[in-house]
């Protein structure tokens, strides 16, 4: 049997749905990690972390051990997440102010941060805060702090924009959030490791490695299934 490196090609199915993608990311979050989930799609990852995972969620507006979204009577305008949605607290939760919350981040105390992206480069540069359009109002929030702070940055995104252009690129054309900060890119069509060695494909969904390589402008390395 060959042990040659090859990504796992899942050809008997289509691209991952949003929920399947969230579940795929959740599977790679080590048990007991301290994790920050970015605004938008990454928040779905929380729904796929098993209760026994021991994962503690950090929200940058000042809380550890955030619980699920609040419903009905639980809704408290003073208990919100970074997306300003009402959430709940789990036993063992802690509150802290903004300087502490970001010291936690920059100080390398968070294990994993999952972020959305407009673009990621093969070297791990991240663009997710600003389209650079002339009439766009720039708003960065905690994105740049998270990008440089967490020990591992996972990006979760569709591989192609609505107009079909790839979001995994040789060089980001949108303004950068951070340089060489992303470790892994989870998309609906494939999972990539990115960094100084370039983009390594570990698995594909509904597309072969060869077809994937043909659709991206980034040289791809066929990596071992993760």
């Amino acid at each position: 049997m060959s042990t040659a490196t090859a990504p796992a090609e899942h050809l008997d199915r289509g691209p991952l749905t949003r929920d399947e993608l969230a579940a795929r990311v959740a599977r790679d979050i080590p048990r007991g990690s301290y994790v920050n989930l970015g605004i938008g799609q990454p928040t779905l990852v929380a729904d796929h972390l098993p209760g026994a995972s021991g994962v503690v969620l950090h929200t940058e507006n000042g809380m550890l051990h955030m619980g699920p979204a609040a419903r009905g009577e639980q809704i408290d305008p003073e208990l919100i997440n970074a997306g300003k949605t009402a959430v709940t607290e789990l036993p063992g939760a802690a509150y802290f102010h903004q300087a502490d919350s970001f010291a936690m981040m920059r100080g390398g105390h968070l294990d994993v941060c999952v972020l959305g992206a407009f673009q990621v480069s093969a070297a791990g540069d991240l663009a997710n805060w600003h389209t650079g359009a002339a009439d766009a109002i720039p708003a960065v929030g905690g994105a740049m702090d998270l990008a440089v702070g967490a020990r591992q940055i996972f990006v979760m995104m569709t591989l192609f924009a609505k107009d079909g252009t790839p979001k995994l690129v040789p060089e980001c054309t949108y303004p950068l959030t951070g340089k060489a900060c992303v470790n892994r890119v989870y998309t609906d069509r494939a999972t990539f490791l990115v960094g100084p060695e370039g983009a390594v494909v570990t698995e594909t969904f509904g597309i072969s490695f060869a077809d994937l390589a043909a659709r991206l402008d980034v040289p791809l390395v066929a990596g071992p299934a993760a």
Binding site: N61, E89, A99, I137, P138, A143
Partner: protein, 223 residues
């Protein structure tokens, strides 16, 4: 100087001068001292520089101060939100200046102002648009950006409860910028839901010691 317990929010914001730098607590509406900001509108100071995480939500609080045309410049991390229409309009009409600062850098620049730190280097933002024009230096193999403190003339913060010494406790994620802003302004005003007698707060649980607080005003939340 010991804290003054004010009878109303108007007394609490008296003396603000045109052109002042005002730190306003809150993350969205959590911890936003809405009634103090409304009093600042009545007080009338204009040409303000406002430092706050967001640039107003809906039509109340900071959004109302912006709508009243009192703010020359916003320093914030995340102005653009689904309900920031007041700021969005002023910005697009070129009627307000904007300095976008990464959220953690904003907090740390405030902390530095309150802690007597002259400047600091942080990895956040290195190699991005937000580092342009700033000194960048490699430390321990990583690019760092030099950041300076942000000091306020006035801080308006929302806390949960105070005692008559000005010690403050907060509630849940409404704590956010309150404790750092309380250290970083010449005059610090806290609106709280309740003022208890001295000794009525557990000293172990106090988040902002009264030394930082100049004025406290009780605001009963309107249901």
């Amino acid at each position: 100087m010991t804290v003054r317990i004010c009878d109303d929010v108007d007394a609490a914001v008296s003396g603000v001068e045109d052109g002042a730098t005002v730190l306003i607590g809150g993350f969205g509406m959590a911890g936003m001292p809405v009634e103090l900001v409304e009093a600042l509108i009545r007080q009338g100071a204009s040409g303000l520089t406002v430092v706050s995480n967001n640039a107003g939500n809906g039509d109340t609080g900071l959004a109302a101060l912006l709508a009243a045309g009192r703010v020359r410049k916003m320093i914030c991390s995340f102005p653009r939100q689904s309900d920031s229409w007041v700021f969005d309009r002023l910005y697009r009409e070129g009627r307000i200046e904007l300095e976008v600062v990464p959220q953690g850098t904003l907090a740390e620049r405030l902390r530095a102002a309150g802690a007597g730190i002259g400047a600091f280097y942080a990895t956040t933002g290195a190699g991005t648009l937000l580092a342009e024009g700033k000194e960048t230096r490699e430390i321990a193999g990583r690019a760092h950006v030099l950041e300076y403190p942000i000091k306020g003339d006035l801080a308006l913060i929302g806390a949960h409860r105070a005692d008559r010494m000005g010690n403050l406790v907060y509630r849940k994620t409404a704590r956010n910028f309150g404790p750092v802003m309380a250290t970083a302004a010449t005059t610090v005003v806290a609106q709280v839901r309740d003022v208890v007698e001295t000794g009525g707060l557990d000293p172990e649980a106090i988040v902002t010691p009264g030394i930082y607080v100049d004025r406290v005003v009780k605001v009963v939340p309107t249901p």
